[in-house]
């Protein structure tokens, strides 16, 4: 059983997954992990990763599962949601202006293929530079602003479409 999932900015694709009486076994990126849920509470799970105890806080909504594992935050959701259709929020919101500011640089062109984590646009807001990065492998469908433009907060800057697979 393998599913494609976005875990934060990273696509998990081609993982092997098995469930048995002791818990779950996952193999991904040459890494074998045995995970067992020790205790499950409302919004909180204590689990065992290859023998190391970890705590995760979670919350599920329309966007997916919001997770915090000891200070590191993730949003777990289906892969296509982050591409083409940008719906705000901290993870997908990467393609939106985080607050009012100015576009300093546009680093890509429409039609260009971009990879996960690639810098797309640099903007300045509250006297700080902020780089908008691609949340996955994709094709740039539209660039909505150019360098020098002033933008409002939470507006879409770039529209990405589905990248070529395999």
């Amino acid at each position: 059983m393998a599913k494609k999932l976005m875990l934060g900015k990273n696509l998990i694709d081609g993982a092997e997954f098995k469930k048995d009486s002791d818990g779950y076994f996952v193999k991904f990126n040459e890494q074998e992990t045995r995970v067992e849920v020790l205790h499950s509470l409302e919004n909180k799970i204590i689990f065992n990763v290859n023998g190391v105890k970890k705590v995760a806080h979670y919350h599920a909504d329309q966007k997916g599962v919001h997770l915090d594992v000891e200070g590191r935050s993730y949003l777990l959701h289906g892969p296509k949601k982050s591409l083409g259709k940008v719906s705000g929020g901290e993870e997908e919101g990467q393609l939106k202006s985080p607050m009012p500011g100015k576009v300093l640089q546009v680093l890509i062109n429409e039609g260009e293929t971009v990879s996960n984590g690639q810098a797309l646009l640099v903007m300045e807001a509250m006297k700080m530079e902020h780089t908008i990065k691609s949340p996955g492998d994709a094709v740039v469908e539209k660039v909505l602003y150019e360098a020098g433009d002033l933008v409002e907060g939470d507006v879409e800057l770039i529209v990405l479409g589905e990248g070529k697979k395999e």
């Binding site: 993982a15 469930k19 779950y24 290859n50 000891e70 200070g71 590191r72 959701h77």
Partner: protein, 504 residues
């Protein structure tokens, strides 16, 4: 002789602030049996400070100048509500001399110092001159009126490089430049002056010696109107990012008993000399050789006051209210002592992996801790939205333990207990700082964050086993759905449905 002030019991207190500090003040007021009045803007109707208070009045809509900085509106609400006193918290109008005057003119008690105290300490040049008068050490520097470029350069050479150029009206690092070499001086001066002019409408600067391995040490003070000027020891706040503190602790590892005695005595000298009233914090910069210099005095309750409360066992807000009522402080200096070690971490809605850029959004789960000696001061509750309208500090996490090592471990655990889920925040970075050898060894200088870029890299490093296990638990349907309760499908199926919609 101090003027004879009548004692006046405060029965109702208005807090002209919001968020965690409003909650903090209301908490103590409740313990003292004082009714509280909260203020709110339209998006804060359901805020924690409003829920906690006995009464709440709307400030209406608008920019800060029309709401939390609207002096007349706040005073008229105080009158309307019948509050005898106003507690300004920190920030906003807490160090605004005009507000203090207007409040007192309206016959309302200002829980804080007099407007003269605020004016004197709010002016960097005037306050430094005062320190020189009373022989409290100040950083070698020039703070005169001759603002000509030629004179300022001459002064910089007398002081000796490296020097720091600072806006006299400044704060928060604006209009501030470090100059290492004489040839860079003129260009830095020009840019500092223009930044100062645009930020504070005042282009005046001062120049001082730049200390390469500085620590930020501050002393908590409390004065009543009966000539009692007490100190509650030091706090070290050297871990700063862009001149904003992020981790504070007490006691400081850098103070020997002799330096501690000396720095606290100097702080008392200051509040006595100006016949101060209420809570204050005297900030010093400590050099490697143990010499220290007065930086400034904050005439209000400080953000990081809880760590002092933890080690001294004193409720500083209760003391502020008592002083405002004209009563004597119920302590003798000799009986105030430091017990154990306390650390505070400021949790910010910001992304340490992305240059500490502020983040906004909804917080689904604040979290809670079962550890003893853990205190969370926050104005945020589950479901609250964090916007760009206010400071990105969402909480202060405070721990108290027997010693520094135990306090560090406790803080690392406690940070796991409060995820503030839904919003990227700086907890992981705080944990990396606390876990670093340099921090554990007490090698904490104010340039700590710049000197340890590896701590950012550690935040970025992926943890495959954990990610794998999250994937595994997801596929196994472990994460229960919360607000998708209508259908009985798992999150996994839910997302499949969503994907289906997207495909159509």
């Amino acid at each position: 002789m101090s003027e004879q002030l009548k004692e006046q019991k405060i029965k109702k207190l208005l807090i002209s602030n919001r968020g965690e500090i409003a909650c903090r003040v209301i908490h103590t007021a409740k313990l003292l049996g004082i009714k509280t009045v909260a203020l709110f803007t339209p998006d804060e109707k359901n805020a924690k400070h409003v829920q906690m208070a006995d009464e709440a009045f709307s400030l209406g809509e608008g920019v800060l100048g029309e709401t939390y900085l609207n002096k007349q509106k706040i005073i008229s609400i105080a009158r309307e509500s019948g509050a005898e006193a106003i507690h300004p918290g920190y920030g906003f109008l807490s160090e605004n001399a005009e507000f203090c005057e207007l409040v007192e003119k309206a016959g309302i008690i200002f829980v804080g110092p007099t407007s003269e105290h605020i004016r004197l300490m709010g002016d960097k040049i005037m306050s430094k001159t005062k320190m020189q008068e009373i022989s409290v050490p100040v950083i070698p520097g020039y703070n005169g009126n001759d603002q000509s470029a030629a004179n300022l350069k001459k002064q910089a050479k007398i002081i000796g490089f490296p020097v720091l150029i600072k806006a006299t009206a400044g704060g928060g690092g604006k209009g501030m430049r470090i100059v290492h070499k004489e040839e860079d001086f003129s260009a830095s001066l020009e840019s500092a002056k223009s930044e100062a002019l645009s930020s504070f409408s005042n282009g005046d600067v001062l120049i001082e010696k730049f200390i390469t391995k500085p620590r930020h040490i501050e002393v908590q003070m409390m004065s009543d109107t009966h000539e009692n000027h007490l100190h509650f020891y030091e706090r070290e706040c050297s871990i700063q990012r862009r001149y904003q503190k992020i981790i504070e602790e007490t006691p400081s590892v850098a103070l020997t008993p002799e330096i501690r005695e000396s720095i606290c005595t100097d702080a008392v000298k200051i509040t006595s000399a100006i016949n101060y009233r209420g809570a204050a914090t005297v900030e010093f910069i400590l050099d490697e050789d143990g010499s220290y210099y007065f930086l400034e005095m904050n005439t209000r309750l400080q953000v990081e006051h809880p760590i002092t409360e933890e080690v001294t066992g004193v409720d500083l807000v209760a003391m502020q209210i008592l002083v405002a009522e004209g009563k004597k402080l119920p302590y003798e200096q000799e009986k105030i002592s430091q017990r154990g070690h306390s650390i505070e971490c400021r949790i910010y809605a910001e992304d340490p992996e992305n240059n500490f850029f502020p983040t906004t959004g909804k917080i689904f789960v604040v979290g809670k801790s079962d550890l003893p000696g853990v205190r969370l001061d926050s104005g945020i509750q589950n479901g609250d939205e964090v916007t760009v309208n206010y400071d990105p500090m969402i909480a202060k996490l405070i721990v108290h333990a027997e010693n520094r090592g135990m306090a560090i471990s406790k803080m690392q655990k406690a940070l796991n207990d409060y995820p503030f889920l839904g919003l990227k925040n700086n907890r992981l970075y705080l944990k990396k700082v606390l876990g670093s050898e340099a921090f554990k060894e007490g090698e904490t200088w104010t340039n700590f964050i710049d000197e340890h870029p590896e701590l950012f890299e550690q935040c970025e490093k992926r943890n495959f086993p954990v990610e794998n296990s999250l994937y595994g638990m997801f596929c196994g349907g472990v994460f229960k759905k919360t607000n998708i309760s209508q259908s009985n499908s798992s999150v996994e199926e839910f997302i499949e449905d969503e994907l289906q919609k997207f495909r159509n």
